[in-house]
């Protein structure tokens, strides 16, 4: 059984405009996916597709005006959404850990990093101060921070972006979580540092038999570090499957457009330019949401497509998935 299995997740943004009309943005409409132990899942899509929102919904970290209105998140068999607030809070940082994208502002600026590493352990388990410190130093060492003993006394503002991200990963992993969610973990870092951080993440996940979800808009990251990929568009999943299958034989026009727009392909001159605004989440069109930007759209696309299984474990939500499978990009 999968470690985490999300079913039909629905999240809305509810607000009022100046005319006092209630506006509902369908930010997530029916997101389902699963991730196993020892597996790295990539969540890709353009900005506003709902990648981060999915992570926040699963972890129960939504704040108004975002509101989860439906769905299940089965973690080891229990539905996270049914848990009392305190139980869920206790699971965060212990069973499910999050690595966020602004490492320098996310660390508590007035607490030395060693104390933060100790604090997060002592909140979640019975452990002596000395042991917690020992583990913290070992963890800093494991994430590749030089002179970990001395760095325990560093303030967050004294760290570079890459170092801060390593500390954040150390904090996420120190309680041996079963699932790690990394939300754009390398945005704003140098390219070389990006690769180091991602290598580190993958090695740690495999070593510790954890499951990981990497949220990114970088297809290269997915290709190099993930086993499975889920492609999101306008608050829904359009294609999912093993990375090799999805990137080798993309079956949804949106995935195909994403792949065609990678720099290498654009340089080859073979990629077609694609674009256009994302659909208005306040007023989603009926039928396929990608219709307006799709080159293959026909009248049939005014009906909502369902998932088509094009190969084992490879699904795409397009009426023409089967026929697109064997077309070259």
């Amino acid at each position: 059984m999968a470690l985490l299995s999300v079913e039909d997740l629905e999240t809305h943004f509810v607000s009022r405009n100046l005319d006092n009309e209630v506006l509902v943005a369908h930010a997530l409409n029916g997101v389902s996916f699963a991730v196993d132990r020892g597996q790295v899942l990539g969540l890709v899509g353009e900005t506003g597709a709902g990648k981060s929102l999915t992570a926040q919904s699963v972890m129960g970290l939504l704040r108004p005006p975002a509101l989860r209105v439906g769905g299940k998140a089965l973690f080891d068999g229990t539905d996270l959404f049914e848990l009392p607030t305190d139980t869920m809070n206790a699971m965060r940082g212990r069973d499910i850990a999050l690595v966020v994208q602004n490492p320098r502002t996310s660390l508590d600026p007035l607490t030395r990093i060693g104390d933060q590493l100790v604090r997060i352990q002592r909140v979640h388990r019975e452990i002596s101060l000395a042991d917690a410190r020992k583990r913290a130093i070992a963890m800093l060492d494991a994430v590749g921070i030089p002179e970990p003993k001395r760095r325990m006394r560093a303030w967050p503002h004294e760290l570079s972006g890459g170092m801060a991200q390593r500390v954040l990963i150390a904090m996420a992993l120190i309680n041996d979580p079963k699932l790690l969610i990394a939300d754009e973990p390398t945005t704003g870092l140098d390219v070389t540092v990006q690769a180091q951080i991602l290598d580190l993440l993958r090695d740690l996940v495999i070593d510790r038999d954890m499951a990981a979800i990497i949220i990114t808009h970088d297809l290269g990251v997915v290709a190099h570090y993930c086993d499975r990929v889920v492609v999101m568009f306008a608050g829904g999943i359009v294609e999912a499957g093993p990375v090799g299958a999805v990137f080798g034989q993309p079956c949804h026009p949106y995935t195909r457009a994403l792949l065609a727009a990678t720099p290498e392909r654009l340089a080859l001159g073979s990629g077609r330019r694609f674009g256009g605004p994302p659909p208005d989440l306040y007023n989603l069109p009926k039928g396929c949401h990608y219709r307006d930007r799709c080159g293959h759209a026909t009248e049939l696309c005014e009906q909502t497509p369902s998932f088509v299984t094009v190969a084992s474990d490879h699904d795409a939500r397009c009426h023409y998935a089967a026929s697109l499978k064997d077309q070259p990009l």
């Binding site: 100046l18 005319d19 006092n20 009309e21 209630v22 506006l23 509902v24 704040r63 108004p64």
Partner: protein, 294 residues
């Protein structure tokens, strides 16, 4: 757009402002209450002569320090003047000082804010340092000392309050302009060859003015408070003008001898009016600045 309350139709479009007012009222009860209070005081000020039973400065020598009764609803003061009528007329002085004072600080502050925000440079730096330096003087004392030195008159009170308050508008407008200065909208306008004055007036002013507008009610509240304080201390509007600060001054000594009505009622009027303006201002800041609401 998914509208739950009202489907967008022709009939609703005929009353967009009414619809909007109802919306604002529901979103910000504070602003609504404040608005109602301010309108009530404005009506009091406009129709003062029709709703007052007595002349506000007519002394009744046989009715000195009368407690509230059927004839003098809120009693009479030490000169035998009707407090109810004086309180009503007091609203006129509150508006007569607050409105021109706030207008003056807008007229001074907004253009300076626009210009200094857009141009930046040494002048901008110097001006901001100057405003920082001004903060070492308590505003009440500054107003008092300057009005006292310039000579107490309504005009001087208005000018001093307007001047002291203009830095606030400079700061608000400047901050907005700084945020917009490097936006694509302004870049495009500049690239299209628009002259500076046009960029300032057409592109920056309409966007920057909103922040300034959100401040007006709170600044008016401050102006009413300060002018009453000046009058209370005898610097500013003088006895026997029916102004609230003056009236509190007249009643101060009676407070400890039991004739509480002389100072109490003008004080209540002052508190309610200032509270109304502050509530309106608080709501306005919420509505015009969406970042403040969660």
């Amino acid at each position: 757009m998914t509208t739950i309350d009202l489907p967008a139709g022709r009939s609703e479009r005929r009353w967009p402002t009414l619809n909007r007012l109802v919306g604002v009222g529901r979103r910000s009860p504070t602003a609504t209450v404040g608005f109602v209070i301010v309108v009530a005081f404005a009506l009091m000020a406009i129709f003062a002569q029709y709703i007052t039973p007595h002349d506000p400065v007519e002394a009744y020598p046989r009715n000195i320090l009368n407690p509230p009764d059927a004839e003098f609803w809120l009693g009479t003061d030490g000169n035998g003047m009707d407090i109810f009528s004086r309180v009503i007329y007091g609203a006129r002085y509150a508006f007569a000082i607050a409105v021109p004072a706030v207008l003056l600080s807008i007229v001074i502050g907004v253009p300076i804010g626009l210009w200094t925000g857009y141009r930046g440079g040494l002048f901008d730096e110097g001006l901001m340092r100057f405003f920082d330096a001004l903060r070492v003087f308590p505003s009440i004392i500054l107003a008092l000392a300057v009005v006292a030195a310039a000579g107490p008159s309504v005009i001087n009170v208005v000018i001093v309050i307007g001047l002291l308050d203009s830095p606030i508008f400079v700061r608000v407008v400047r901050a907005e302009v700084l945020a917009l200065r490097s936006s694509t909208m302004v870049e495009a306008a500049r690239a299209a060859g628009n002259p500076t004055w046009r960029i300032l007036l057409v592109h920056l002013l309409p966007n920057a003015i909103q922040g300034a507008m959100a401040q007006t009610a709170v600044r008016a509240a401050w102006a009413v408070r300060i002018s009453a304080t000046l009058a209370f201390l005898g610097v500013g509007i003088q006895v026997p003008t029916p102004e609230w600060g003056v009236m509190i001054r007249q009643g101060a000594e009676y407070m400890v001898t039991g004739q509480w009505w002389v100072a109490l009622f003008p004080g209540i009027a002052l508190v309610v009016m200032v509270l109304g303006l502050n509530m309106l201002g608080d709501g306005l800041q919420d509505l015009l600045n969406p970042r403040r609401k969660g």
